[in-house]
Amino acid sequence: MQTQYLDFERPLVELEQQIDELKQVAGPGVLFAEEIGRLEERARKLQIEIFNDLDAWQKVQLSRHPNRPYMLDYVERLMTDFIELHGDRLHGEDRAIVAGLAKFGDRRVMVIGHQKGRNTKENLVRNFGMANPEGYRKARRLFQLADRFGLPILTLIDTPGAYPGIGAEERGQAEAIAQCLVTMAALKVPVIATVIGEGGSGGALALGVANRVLMLEYAIYSVISPEGCASILWKDQSKAAEAARQLRITAADLHRFGLVDAVIEEPAGGAHRDYEATARKVGAAIGGYLDSLSGMTPDELVGDRYDKFRAMGVFETAK
């Protein structure tokens, strides 16, 4: 994978390159040890400085970081015996959503998530994680399959949004998403959704009607992309950073509102800097919540999910 970095990561990445070069010159000996130590300390402080005070727009960029771990990176690290299941049985196979059976520890589960591509070639297949109706209909088919076999469902959300195209509209994008929502609402198995990157609008929520909703620290969840919001409300795409702030799309904000249940802390510098550590934390969080739901009866699980979403919304009563 080619390492890429964001503008605000640049000073850190440059410092780290400097350290690497120095280490190469120094070889295995103690040459430059003091200098290297000094630079490493500076890098550590710089990282804290940059990441302690990220604004919403910087988090948007991190959530879309080209090196960020994607759905299958988690499956590979957290699950065993994964067997992918394809197709919606109606029209086609959409590789922007990946789904399959797996073992998560000693549990048998259904795992379903959006999958982005790492490069142009992969994105031809993955469509940048933007699903067509077939993707949502595959998800729905497998929600129902999991329900029949009593398998807990783990979803991993990472999409800019449902794909806005002619074919998608012809084949009922809105209907496909709506069916996911009503199907998820009635599932009699535990469902845990984790937003690992971009939680883009209805296309994200289609995998998000869960008993517990978790978010990585630098993931975002939004009703509209900041760019889209800026062009509609500000009539100016360049106001995306401002829109990102106003929309309250960060994990911290949404947790404060009670719209997500937990924020999973990312390793220093973001998830893309340490896949193993990120996956471990995600796995631990999901495992913990699965344990806490395991005592519920099927009807209690449906009721728990209903109550959770039924309570979402803030309004006033006019006098």
């Binding site: 806005p164 979403f309 006033e316």
Partner: protein, 278 residues
């Protein structure tokens, strides 16, 4: 019923001034007719039959038995959970919309009867911020389904919405989940839900309860879809085909059960309810 008389009077007054007196030209066919003719004809062009938007009180009068409508939850109004501000603060925007439309929010909901049968109904108020769905619309729609479940009667929603209320952020997104979950509960009672798609029905409203009707009915030539035509054009950098995302297109693609002209809507709904609810 408070909003009701007022809105009619306001709307009529506005129409007169907009139409520069008595004449109104149809954007679709170019014919000029007396504005009064449009009003008498339920806002359908007397010349070409194009369906212009009928306001929510107009729908109440058209669909429900006379004097059967009892408005519910009229006092729910938007809060401002995000303290959202673009060029204007959200509180100012929603207040201005209340003043302009005479409605508390983008949804007029309540109980009524169709040919003596109880129904739980909701009508979008498109003039209120484009019929966008925030917490209040989501709450009112969820209560329409919950009342239908409680009273063991059918639910009908008349949709006209551009989608989510951006100013409420993820709260607005979650109304899609909330309303869909309420439909799941209604289904368990065996009561039908009929969704009527008016012009336009797009975005988060389309991608939740609007497309979850046991039967889905559309008005002629209504714009219906997930993404708006402009967004699609920008994404694919192509002109969209003629008639794309219109009701007739959706019927051809299997997404809508049938199209009902406005004049037949009440009788078609009554017949549907006879079949489904016995």
């Amino acid at each position: 019923m408070g909003w009701f008389g007022k809105i009619r009077a306001d709307a009529d007054a506005e129409k007169r001034s907009v139409d520069e007196g008595l004449w109104r030209k149809c954007d679709e066919c170019g014919e000029a007719r007396l504005a009064e003719e449009f009003a008498k004809n339920l806002q359908v062009c007397p010349a070409c039959g194009y369906h212009y938007q009928l306001d929510a009180p107009g729908w109440v009068n058209l669909i429900l038995d006379p004097s059967s409508f009892v408005e519910r939850d009229p006092d729910l109004v938007a809060a401002d959970p995000l303290a959202f501000k673009d060029q204007k603060g959200y509180r100012d925007r929603s207040r201005a919309s209340r003043k302009k439309t005479g409605f508390g929010e983008a949804m007029l909901s309540g109980d009524g009867k169709i040919r003596d049968r109880d129904v739980s109904v909701g009508f979008f108020v498109f003039q209120f911020m484009g019929g966008s769905m925030g917490s209040v619309v989501g709450e009112k729609v969820a209560r329409v389904f919950e009342r239908a479940a409680e009273r063991r009667c059918p639910a009908i929603i008349f949709n006209a919405s551009g989608g989510a209320r951006m100013q409420e952020g993820v709260y607005s997104l979650m109304q899609m989940a909330k309303t869909s979950a309420a439909i799941a509960r209604l289904r368990a009672t065996g009561q039908p839900y009929i969704s009527v798609l008016l012009n336009p029905t797009t975005g988060g409203v389309a991608a939740s309860f609007a497309f979850l009707g046991d039967v889905i009915v559309a008005e002629p030539k209504a714009l219906i879809g997930f993404a708006g035509p402009r967004v699609i054009e920008q994404t694919i950098r192509q002109k969209l085909p003629e008639g794309f995302q219109r009701s007739e297109f959706l019927v051809d693609h299997g997404m809508v059960d049938f199209i009902a002209p406005r004049h037949e809507m009440r009788s078609r709904l009554a017949l549907l309810l006879d079949h489904l609810a016995g």
